[in-house]
C-alpha cells in the first residue's frame, strides 16, 4: 500500500471537513453585524454553540496530521507563514472565548463586536495562509529560506477576500437551516449575494493560478488531467445553479448542500491542479513525507479512530437538529 498517497487523500478529507464545519461557524461570526439586535445574535450564536468546539478541533487535527505524515510541510510552511498563522490564532482566541464570555455578560454588544472581529481576523488569516501556500515558498535543503513577508502578495490578499465571501455563504446557508422568520429571511438574501461573489472569485482564481504557474496549464492540457480536470468547473457551475434555484424556491436544506458542493468543486480543482506538490512550487508529497513506520501507524490509527469520531459527531448534530429556539440552549 502506498501510504504517501493514502495520507494525501486523508489530509484532503480532513481539511475539507474543517473548511466546511468551521466555515459555517466562522461565517456566522462574519454575519454578526447584519443582525438587528442582540436577541437575533443570541439565536445565531445558539445555532453553533454546542458544535463550534468540535468543528474547530478539525483544524488542530489537520495541523497534527500534517506533522505526522508530511513533517517537511509542517516545518517549512509554519515558519514561512508565521505571521498569518499567529494572527489566525489570535483571531480564534478572541472568537473562542466570546462564546462563554458573551453568554455570561450583561452588556452583550461589545462581545458581539469581538466575535465579529475575531472571526474576520481568523478568516482573512486563513485566506492569506492559503494564498501564501499557493503562491510559493522558498525552500533550501528542507528548510524555509525566505523572508517573513513572502506570503503577502496580491494573490494571497485576494484569496483572503474570497474566503470571507465563501464562509459568509456557508454561514448564511447554515442559518437558513437553523432559523426561521426575520433571521432566515435575511440569510436567504445574504446567501444570494455572497454566492455571486464566491463564483466570481472562483473564476478569477481559476484564471490566476495558471498565469502564476505556467506548469499548471500544461498539467491541465495533458493526460491524465485533461480527462477529468474539466469536471470541477462543471461541478461548480451546476452547484451554483442549484444553489440559486433553491434559494429562490426558499428551500431550507438544499442551499447548504449546494454550497458544500460548490466548495468541493473549487477545493478538488485546486488540489488536483497542484498535486503532487505539497509545498509549491518545488517539494512533492513524497519528498515531504515521514518515515514509513510513522506513516503506517498513523494511517491505521486514523482509519480506526476517525469513523468513531465521525459517528459521534453525527450523533451530536442529530441531538441538536432542528430550528434553534429563542431561549437557545440552557446552561
Amino acid at each position: 500500500m502506498d501510504f504517501v498517497v493514502a495520507w494525501a487523500c486523508l489530509l484532503a478529507l480532513v481539511f475539507i471537513l474543517y473548511v466546511i464545519l468551521d466555515g459555517f461557524s466562522l461565517g456566522i461570526g462574519l454575519l454578526f453585524p447584519s443582525a438587528r439586535n442582540e436577541e437575533e445574535r443570541d439565536l445565531m450564536m445558539s445555532s453553533i454553540a454546542p458544535v463550534w468546539d468540535a468543528n474547530q478541533t478539525w483544524l488542530v487535527f489537520g495541523g497534527g496530521a500534517i506533522f505526522v505524515a508530511f513533517p517537511t510541510v509542517y516545518t517549512v510552511l509554519f515558519p514561512a507563514l508565521y505571521i498569518p498563522l499567529m494572527t489566525l490564532l489570535f483571531g480564534l482566541i478572541f472568537r473562542g472565548v466570546t462564546f462563554e464570555f458573551r453568554a455570561n455578560a450583561t452588556r452583550k454588544q461589545k462581545w458581539s463586536r469581538a466575535f465579529f472581529f475575531g472571526s474576520l481576523v481568523a478568516v482573512v488569516s486563513q485566506g492569506l495562509t492559503l494564498g501564501g501556500v499557493i503562491s510559493g515558498t522558498t525552500v533550501v535543503e528542507g528548510q524555509f529560506a525566505g523572508g517573513p513577508f513572502d506570503w503577502f502578495n496580491p494573490f494571497s490578499v485576494f484569496v483572503g477576500i474570497a474566503l470571507v465571501a465563501g464562509y459568509t455563504l456557508l454561514g448564511a446557508t447554515y442559518l437558513i437551516i437553523k432559523t426561521r422568520g426575520e433571521v432566515q429571511h435575511r440569510a436567504y438574501r445574504q446567501a444570494f449575494w455572497s454566492a455571486i461573489i464566491v463564483l466570481a472569485c472562483q473564476v478569477i482564481v481559476t484564471v490566476w493560478t495558471p498565469l502564476h504557474y505556467p506548469v499548471v496549464l500544461t498539467y491541465w492540457l495533458n493526460p491524465p488531467r485533461i480527462y477529468f480536470i474539466w469536471i470541477f468547473p462543471l461541478m461548480g457551475l451546476s452547484a451554483f445553479y442549484g444553489l440559486m434555484k433553491n434559494l429562490k424556491n426558499r428551500h431550507e436544506f438544499l442551499p447548504f448542500v449546494c454550497t458544500v458542493i460548490l466548495f468541493l468543486a473549487g477545493y478538488l480543482g485546486l488540489i488536483s491542479s497542484l498535486y503532487p506538490f505539497a509545498i509549491p512550487p518545488a517539494v512533492t508529497f513524497r519528498e515531504a513525507s515521514a518515515q514509513k513506520e510513522t506513516l503506517r501507524l498513523g494511517f491505521w490509527a486514523v482509519i480506526i479512530v476517525l469513523p468513531v469520531v465521525l459517528s459521534y459527531t453525527v450523533y451530536s448534530y442529530s441531538i441538536f437538529r432542528g430550528k434553534v429556539s429563542k431561549e437557545g440552549y440552557h446552561y
Binding site: 468546539d53 497534527g64 513533517p71 509542517y74 507563514l81 480564534l92 482566541i93 472565548v97 441538536f320
Partner: protein, 462 residues
C-alpha cells in the same frame, strides 16, 4: 535578544498560561462525574443543583483552555521547526493521537454535557460527562507522554541527525511516562478538589446556600483527602525517576554539587546556591537525607553537579527554589487534609471557621504547585530540547527575531486581558451563586426524586 531566547519565553508563557485551564478541566470533570453519579443514584435534587453550578464554571474554563491550547500545537512548527523536523517521526504521532482520542471526545460530548439537558435522557447525559472526563485525562496522557519522550527519549535511532522510530511502544511508554502522567493527573485532581472545597467553604463562611455548600464541600474534601497523600507519594516516585534518568536535573533541584564518596548525601532543606563558585553559600541539611530519598539507602551515591560540564547544567537557582516551593505546597495541602480528618472525627468540620478560612486561603495553591512543577521539569531539561541528544538552540525555526518579538508582545497583551476577563466572569458566576429554583427538564426528573423543599420539611419535622 535572539530568536532562541524569545521563542523559549513565548513557549513558556503560552504553556504556563494554558496549563492552568486543563488542570481545572481534568479535576472538575471528575468531580462532575461523581456528582452526577450521586444524583442518579440518590435522586436528591441537591446533587443536580451542585452539578449545574459547577458545570457553569467548567464551561467557562474549558472554553479558554481550548483556544489557548491550539496555540501550542502550532508553535512546534512556527517557533521550533528544526526540532520538529528532527523528531517528527517519533514525536508527532503522540500529538495527533491526542487530538484524535481526546480533543474530539471532549469537544464532541461537551455540547451534550452543557446544552443537552433537555435533549437527551439521563443515562446519555451521564455518559457524556464520563466521556468528557475521560477525554481530558487521555489528553493529559498523550501530552505528558510526548513531553516525557523529550525528557527520557526511547524507541528511536539517530540517523543523520533525525530521530527514526524503532519501537513506538517504547517511545510512548518511555522510562518516565507513567510516573509523570500519574503525577500530572493527580496534580489536576488535587488542585481542583481544593478549588471546589475553597469556594464552598467561602459560601459556608458567608452563610450562603448552607445545604448546597456543605454537600459540595464534603465531596471536594473527600476527594482532596484521597488525592493529597497520593500526590506526595507520586511526587516521591517522580523524584526517584529523575535521579535514575536525569542526574544533572536532580543534582540541580537539590543544589547538590559534590558526588558523595564516603557516606550519604545530605538533603538540603534551605540553601543559597552559588553557581559561579559551584557551592552553596548557606545550608540547612538533613544528614544522609538525599541518599535515603532517592536511593533508599543511607549511603547511596548521588552524582553532584560538578560532574557535568558547566554548559550542560540547568539553572540551579530556578530549579532549587521552584522544586522546594512545589514540595512545600504539597506538604501544606497534606497537613490541611490531616486537620480536616481530625475535625471530621470530632464532628466539627463545618463549624471550625479557622479551618474554613484556611481552605479559602490555600485553594489556589495547587495551580502554583503545578506551575512550579512544570518549571522544574522543563528548566531542568535545559540546555537540551531532547535530553542529552539535541540542544534547544539547535531546534529553533529559521525566522527573524522580529517575528517572535511581535507575537510575544501580542501574547503579553492578550493573555492578561483574557485572564482578567475570565476571572471577572468566574467571580460573577460565583457571586450569583447556584440556581436552586429553575425547573428540572422533564427528561431528567427521576421517579421518586427528593426535592430541596422535601429535605427542608424533613429537617423541620426532625
Amino acid at each position: 535578544m535572539d530568536v532562541v531566547v524569545l521563542s523559549r519565553i513565548q513557549f513558556a508563557i503560552t504553556t504556563m498560561f494554558h496549563i492552568l485551564f486543563p488542570v481545572l478541566t481534568i479535576g472538575l470533570a471528575l468531580y462532575l462525574v461523581v456528582v452526577e453519579f450521586l444524583w442518579l443514584k440518590t435522586r436528591q435534587e441537591l446533587y443536580y443543583r451542585i452539578y449545574r453550578f459547577w458545570a457553569k464554571i467548567f464551561a467557562i474554563n474549558f472554553g479558554v483552555g481550548v483556544v489557548t491550547g491550539v496555540v501550542l500545537e502550532f508553535e512546534f512548527g512556527t517557533n521550533f521547526s528544526r526540532f520538529s523536523q528532527a523528531v517528527s517521526n517519533v514525536f508527532s504521532p503522540l500529538l495527533a493521537f491526542e487530538v484524535m482520542t481526546a480533543f474530539f471526545l471532549e469537544a464532541g460530548f461537551l455540547g451534550i454535557m452543557i446544552f443537552g439537558w433537555e435533549k437527551v435522557p439521563k443515562g446519555i447525559h451521564f455518559l457524556a460527562t464520563c466521556l468528557v472526563a475521560l477525554g481530558s485525562m487521555v489528553s493529559a496522557f498523550w501530552i505528558v507522554a510526548a513531553n516525557s519522550w523529550m525528557q527520557t527519549p526511547a524507541g528511536y535511532e539517530l540517523v543523520n541527525g533525525r530521530f527514526m522510530v524503532t519501537d513506538f511502544w517504547n517511545a510512548i511508554f518511555n522510562p518516565s511516562t507513567v510516573t509523570r502522567v500519574n503525577h500530572m493527573v493527580m496534580a489536576s485532581l488535587e488542585t481542583s478538589a481544593f478549588v471546589v472545597a475553597g469556594i464552598s467553604a467561602y459560601y459556608l463562611l458567608k452563610g450562603k446556600y448552607a445545604d448546597f455548600s456543605q454537600r459540595s464541600l464534603s465531596i471536594g474534601l473527600i476527594m482532596a483527602a484521597l488525592f493529597a497523600p497520593l500526590q506526595v507519594y507520586l511526587g516521591d516516585r517522580s523524584g526517584v525517576e529523575v535521579f535514575h534518568h536525569q542526574p544533572a536535573k536532580l543534582a540541580a533541584m537539590e543544589a547538590h554539587w559534590e558526588t558523595n564518596t564516603t557516606g550519604g548525601a545530605p538533603y538540603i532543606l534551605m540553601a543559597i546556591p552559588d553557581p559561579t563558585n559551584e557551592k552553596n553559600l548557606f545550608e540547612i541539611t538533613i544528614p544522609n537525607g538525599l541518599s535515603l530519598l532517592v536511593t533508599r539507602s543511607t549511603n547511596g551515591q548521588v552524582q553532584g553537579l560538578k560532574e557535568f560540564s558547566r554548559d550542560n547544567r540547568p539553572n540551579v537557582s530556578i530549579l532549587f527554589w521552584s522544586f522546594r516551593f512545589m514540595v512545600a505546597v504539597g506538604f501544606l495541602l497534606l497537613i490541611v487534609m490531616a486537620w480536616a480528618a481530625l475535625l471530621w472525627h470530632w464532628k466539627r468540620l463545618f463549624q471550625c471557621r479557622t479551618f474554613l478560612w484556611t481552605l479559602v486561603i490555600v485553594h489556589p495553591l495547587g495551580f502554583l504547585a503545578t506551575e512550579l512543577g512544570w518549571l522544574t521539569t522543563e528548566v531542568g531539561r535545559q540546555p537540551w530540547v531532547v535530553y542529552n541528544l539535541m540542544k534547544t538552540t539547535e531546534g529553533i525555526s529559521p525566522i527573524p527575531a522580529g517575528n517572535v518579538v511581535w507575537s510575544l508582545i501580542l501574547f503579553l497583551i492578550v493573555f492578561p486581558v483574557v485572564g482578567a476577563i475570565y476571572f471577572f466572569y468566574v467571580l460573577k458566576t460565583l457571586n450569583r451563586g447556584p440556581d436552586l429554583s429553575s425547573p428540572i427538564p422533564p427528561v431528567q426528573r427521576p421517579v421518586g426524586m427528593e426535592t430541596l423543599a422535601q429535605v427542608k420539611r424533613n429537617k423541620v419535622i426532625e
